[in-house]
Amino acid sequence: MHIELIRRPERSAWMAFLSPVLAIVLTVIAGFIIFVASRVDPFGALYIYFIDSLTAWWSIQDLIVKMTPLILIAVGLSLCYLSNTWNIGAEGQLAAGAIAGSVLPIFFPDWEGPLVVAIMLVMGVLGGMAYAAIPAILKTRFGANEILTSLMLVYVAGYVLDWLARGPWRNPAGHNFPNSRQFSDGQLLPVIAGQHITISIIFALIVAAAAWLLLRKTLTGFQIRVLGQAPRAGAFAGFSQSRMIMIAFLISGGLAGLAGVCEVAGPLGQLRISVSPGYGFTAIIVAFLGRLNPLGIIVSSFVLALSYLGGEGVQIAYGVSDQIARVFQGMLLFFVLACDALIFYRIRIVRRVVAAAPVAPAMEATRGRV
């Protein structure tokens, strides 16, 4: 028995919508099995994981706080992945944004006010962009693989952040904790709802809408999609691949930087040795689950933010390690990618192969490759 894929005459719009849903269902089933294997009541654990966080206002607030960086980063990454550019170093660009955005409040503790916050945001964006420009330039100038360089720079950024927070930028009056000084109120983003929801969620929604417009209504958006799906056609049309790599990296790096500065000037309120629980990596899953569509990303960021809270929830209720959140997130991405095959292919299960298929003539074989 083996599985065979049969190409659909055209892409299935139904499946494009259903495959993320199917992936979530499969993740829940796999989660059920994991909980049973860990000798935990699976129904109770799944309830706490996926439902419980939605029943209290404080945890819904937490959900929105976690959705914000995920949307910002995933929207940028989706532009990269659509154009076939592989920035996987958003976690480092986030750290760079957090560092650059912290310069003003750390060196000029007395400077406060909306203008200061605005400059902090701009510096955060520029920090993320500058850091993302490194792998982009190394790629366009020297052809160095951007997947590996952008990822290596995550580790480098992590060490720089660690050094700053423990060393030169540590709060002298902070009892040796590896944190910077607490930013004053006039250096923080305004809270718009509840206790922690800052204006950054509005930024995230605007960014998603803008990216949607960029992709649907502008020439750049068209170039992104052409260069992603048919690079040769794009080259013949005169679209520059290197220009696109720069654009994709600068946008995604800038947005990751924005997410970083929004963390330090928002929920954290200071620079710490760690400014993100892996948002830069989780956002990769958000981008794919949202079908690389900025509006889909808003929905999928909700699912992934829920997975963070769910992990904390089952740790408190059942003593399961909160690392289970990362297992759920990884499984989800796997299922999403596998289910995507259903969009272009029908699955046929062949019970038994009686004889080997005749060798296709060479012409047939070459024609099949597009």
């Binding site: 794919f288 399961v320 297992v327």
Partner: protein, 308 residues
């Protein structure tokens, strides 16, 4: 520096290079067949935790190593299923494998964080091992280091001196022609992916059982990614990959020693050195495009759907 210190330094550099060598040799074979598996870090870290647990339960380091290999293969099979059968994007699936593997290993190893590991004795041949410098380095390593060297030579021999190796390279360079000639592209690739998983699992097992002899979450610390870079650095040739592995082993050990001597550079900058070196090395090697073009598998990362 005396002879004994120099011997110690060389020994630790070789031990640091070994997991990199295992993982990059496996990935080299996988990539030669045309599949880019970015999940090395994930397979390594699951190999590390499963190997550690199996070693702890059985009390036998070798059983731990075997379990690590099997765990790496199971992870690789998952990747093979998703990318080769369901033709999912290889880059994204590899990332998924890494994220999943790091999470799964942290979950599985939760209760093993402070458990002491088994370690693996170095071999000792009376007379030979006692020769200064040469003795311990050539005749006094732990058994897996000899396995790593043999693997490097074996992979080179297999790929370039055997018919099956030729088939693997043919599948990686032109899957359409290989298919037309009657070779099972998917089957060959699946086996190559499994080999890559076995090697990554072994690398992980080596880390947790022999190298650090303990389990800590994220203990692979980017070594899987460095192994991926080493394959590019070695331009898909096993012996060059081995040279690269020793080079990186040396950098990671020398920066640790520099931290120990209290050099006036912040420790974080020294720790960042291996990662920065990877970036620089990638840039240097990528500048020479002809060198890369000769050896890069032409179908690397491309999905293949056979038309019947």
């Amino acid at each position: 520096m005396g002879v004994s210190e120099l011997t110690g330094l060389i020994l630790t550099i070789i031990t640091a290079a070994t997991p990199l060598l295992f993982a990059s040799l496996g990935e080299l074979v996988t990539e030669r067949s045309g599949v880019l598996n970015l999940g090395v870090e994930g397979m390594m870290s699951v190999g590390a935790v499963i190997g550690f647990i199996a070693g702890d339960l059985s009390g036998q380091p070798l059983i731990g190593i075997l379990a690590a290999i099997v765990a790496g293969m199971v992870m690789a099979a998952l990747f093979g299923l998703v990318t080769l059968v369901f033709i999912a994007n290889q880059v994204a699936s590899g990332l998924a494998l890494t994220l999943f593997g790091l999470g799964l290993s942290a979950l599985l190893g939760d209760r093993y964080v402070s458990v002491p590991g088994l370690g693996l004795d170095r071999i000792h041949i009376p007379g030979l091992t006692d020769i200064p410098l040469v003795g311990p380095v050539i005749f006094g390593e732990d058994p897996l280091i000899y396995v790593a060297v043999a693997l490097a030579i074996g992979v080179g021999w297999f790929l370039f001196r055997t018919r099956r190796g030729l088939i693997v390279r043919a599948v990686g360079d032109n899957h359409v022609s290989a298919h037309a000639l009657g070779y099972g592209v998917i089957r060959v690739r699946f086996l190559a992916v499994l080999f890559g998983g076995a090697c990554a699992g072994l690398a992980g097992g080596y880390l947790s059982i022999v190298y650090s002899s303990q389990w800590t979450p994220n203990m692979t610390a980017g070594r899987g990614w460095i192994a991926l870079a080493l394959v590019v650095f070695g331009t898909w040739l096993p012996l060059r990959v081995a040279v690269g592995a020793v080079l990186f082993g040396a950098i990671s050990i020398l920066q640790l020693n520099a931290q120990g001597y209290g050099i006036a550079i912040p420790a974080q900058f020294l720790s960042a050195l291996p990662y920065l070196t990877t970036v620089i090395v990638l840039v240097l090697i990528s500048r020479n495009r002809t060198l890369l073009r000769v050896n890069t598998p032409a179908c690397l990362g491309q999905a293949f759907v056979p038309d019947r």
